[in-house]
């Protein structure tokens, strides 16, 4: 699903002394069918921007086009309803939005709300729960009686149950332990790979995830997009990123330090353990200057 922002501005607390433009006259096009990451320090406007992508926020000024839907400040709420059917959103700490008696009912809620019969909705819910690794023994339990990691999976199953075309993930792994983070990212990536015509937009502070999974990385600062490119292009700009409070993946930090210390050229855009090892091995095997 393609996204196109046209002079998009969003102002919090308009007409008060606290008025802030969280997004400021932004022009942006994000192509569909790609895995896009948005990075930027806290307060740079990432969450405000992505909440426009499923109509949770309407522009104060300018417009945003998501697939075939255009949203402006005066767009009727009713028109945003079908948009939310197609654009799924996983917030930070999505488990805070669970509220049903049982895990199954929580996940079936979305599809039922969009017109599925109870049987259909539960069938979909069961599939989605299985996909996120929730055992059927847990289906009748309260979502509040399982571990934090499981709660988050349930919440995510609820979003996937609507079979969205575009999945927006706003810091989805915050607070999870390393194993939980790894499993969660793999889940999203598999979801994206296994289906046709799907897009993911991931907001993250984990530069490793942005580097490893994205086709394109978008850099935000002060309510605007200040750079974009492939992970390789973006994470070659360590100094620029540090200036706006960001870092490069640890693998890149290591390879750049090695390059500086040894005064020899090496491939510094490696984002996995294997690629980093390979770059170091070829550095070691290459003879130094005579």
């Amino acid at each position: 699903m393609q996204i196109k922002a046209n002079h998009l501005t969003y102002t919090y607390m308009k007409n008060t002394p606290f008025e802030t433009n969280a997004i400021d006259k932004l022009d942006l096009m994000i192509p569909g069918e790609q895995f896009t990451s948005i990075i930027g320090h806290t307060g740079s406007g990432k969450s405000t921007l992505v909440q426009h992508f499923n109509g949770l926020l309407k522009p104060t000024d300018g417009s945003i086009k998501i697939g075939e839907w255009t949203v402006k400040s005066d767009t009727k709420q009713k028109l945003l309803y079908p948009l939310r059917r197609h654009v799924g959103m996983v917030f930070q700490f999505p488990e805070h939005q669970l509220f049903h008696e049982t895990i199954l009912a929580d996940v079936a809620y979305g599809p039922m709300n969009f017109g599925f019969s109870k049987e259909e909705a539960e069938k979909v819910a069961k599939e989605c729960l299985a996909n996120v690794g929730i055992d059927d023994q847990l289906f009748d339990r309260s979502p509040f009686d399982v571990s934090g990691g499981q709660m988050r999976r349930v919440a995510i199953a609820g979003v996937l149950a609507l079979d969205p075309e575009l999945l927006i993930l706003d810091e989805p792994t915050a607070g999870l332990d390393p194993e939980g983070q790894e499993m969660m990212m793999k889940l999203f990536h598999d979801w994206y790979e296994e289906r046709e015509e799907r897009s993911i937009i991931l907001v993250t502070h984990q530069m490793e995830d942005a580097a490893r999974y994205s086709d394109e990385v978008i850099v935000m600062d002060g309510g605007n997009v200040i750079d974009r490119g492939t992970p390789r292009q973006i994470f070659a700009k360590k100094a620029e990123l540090e200036k706006i409070g960001l870092t490069v993946p640890e693998s890149v930090q290591l390879l750049e330090a090695l390059q500086a210390h040894s005064e020899s050229e090496l491939n510094t855009s490696a984002f996995t353990l294997e690629d980093t090892v390979e770059s170091i091995l070829s550095f070691l095997h290459k003879k130094g200057r005579d």
Partner: protein, 279 residues
């Protein structure tokens, strides 16, 4: 050296029929030490931490905080003043409309006289680098600043121990560094005992000693060098070794003769440069 926290054969479950979430925990935290409690989500870290300042009191086992057995209900206020806590979510622990009021809040509860309160509040604000923000609304601060406000509130109590329960896990990398460098400073300059609770191995590197909890039991105990260099042991308890450790191990598997115990970027870079043939 005296112990600030002493836990002896502690067992705990939330209800009579529920499974135990802490099994036979025994540990001591020395005065001035930085201890990290490392463990996966649900391993029992927060539950254990609540015993340190008598938010939980043992039915089975014993906890002595700053020399006082926590079973004595009349000592709880005193214990909580000496063992301060900072929690994960900055938004849930801010209670007052301005930074200075928020820092003063705990002192008001503790019944400190006005003059002294004033002095303590401004000293804490100063120590945490929050000067100039005294009259700001806490909600308008960054995550790192909010957690510094929470730390200033803790420091104003003049505690012997500060426990940080995943206090950096909701912050961005800059906020994380901001808070941890303040913690380091409080330990050094105020001689406060620090207990950090985390699943972030990079944060654990800062500690003097680490204990690893796994499903409510103490799985390992040791220095950061010992604990963090054991990739397999960490994986078994749902954690991951620091990136540098994983790199060093993988390079060794590829026959690169690296020394043992490489934990930092600098160490790895220096070792690799030594191995590079010059001509």
């Amino acid at each position: 050296m005296t112990n600030d926290i002493h836990v002896d054969h502690l067992y705990f479950r939330y209800h009579e029929q529920a499974p135990y979430v802490l099994h036979d925990i025994s540990l001591t935290v020395k005065q001035g030490e930085w201890l990290t409690i490392l463990g996966h989500n649900g391993s029992g870290k927060s539950t254990l931490a609540r015993f340190f300042n008598a938010l939980h009191v043992p039915k089975e086992g014993k906890v002595i905080s700053c020399g006082i057995d926590t079973k004595h209900a009349n000592e709880w206020v005193n214990i909580r003043r000496q063992v301060a806590m900072v929690f994960q979510n900055p938004d849930n622990q801010i209670v007052a409309p301005t930074v200075e009021d928020d820092v003063a809040f705990g002192l008001e509860n503790a019944g400190i006289p006005y003059e002294e309160m004033h002095e303590r509040v401004y000293r804490s604000i100063e120590r945490l680098g929050l000067r100039g923000l005294e009259t700001q609304e806490p909600h308008r601060l960054s995550g790192g600043q909010k957690q510094r406000v929470a730390l200033a509130g803790a420091l104003a109590l003049r505690p012997k121990v500060i426990v940080l329960d995943e206090a950096t896990s909701m912050l961005d990398p800059t906020g994380r560094i901001e808070v941890l460098s303040m913690v380091e400073k409080l330990r050094k300059e105020e001689n406060i005992t620090i207990i950090t609770i985390t699943h972030d191995v990079t944060e654990a590197m800062l500690a003097d000693r680490i204990i690893v909890l796994h499903e409510g039991s103490m799985a390992y105990e040791g220095t950061p060098d010992e604990i963090l260099s054991d990739e397999n042991a960490l994986r078994k308890v749902g954690l991951r070794a620091p990136f540098i450790v994983q790199m060093a191990n993988e390079l060794k598997r590829q026959q690169v003769p690296l020394p043992n115990g490489v934990l930092s970027h600098e160490e790895l870079v220096t070792s690799l440069c030594k191995l590079k043939p010059i001509t």
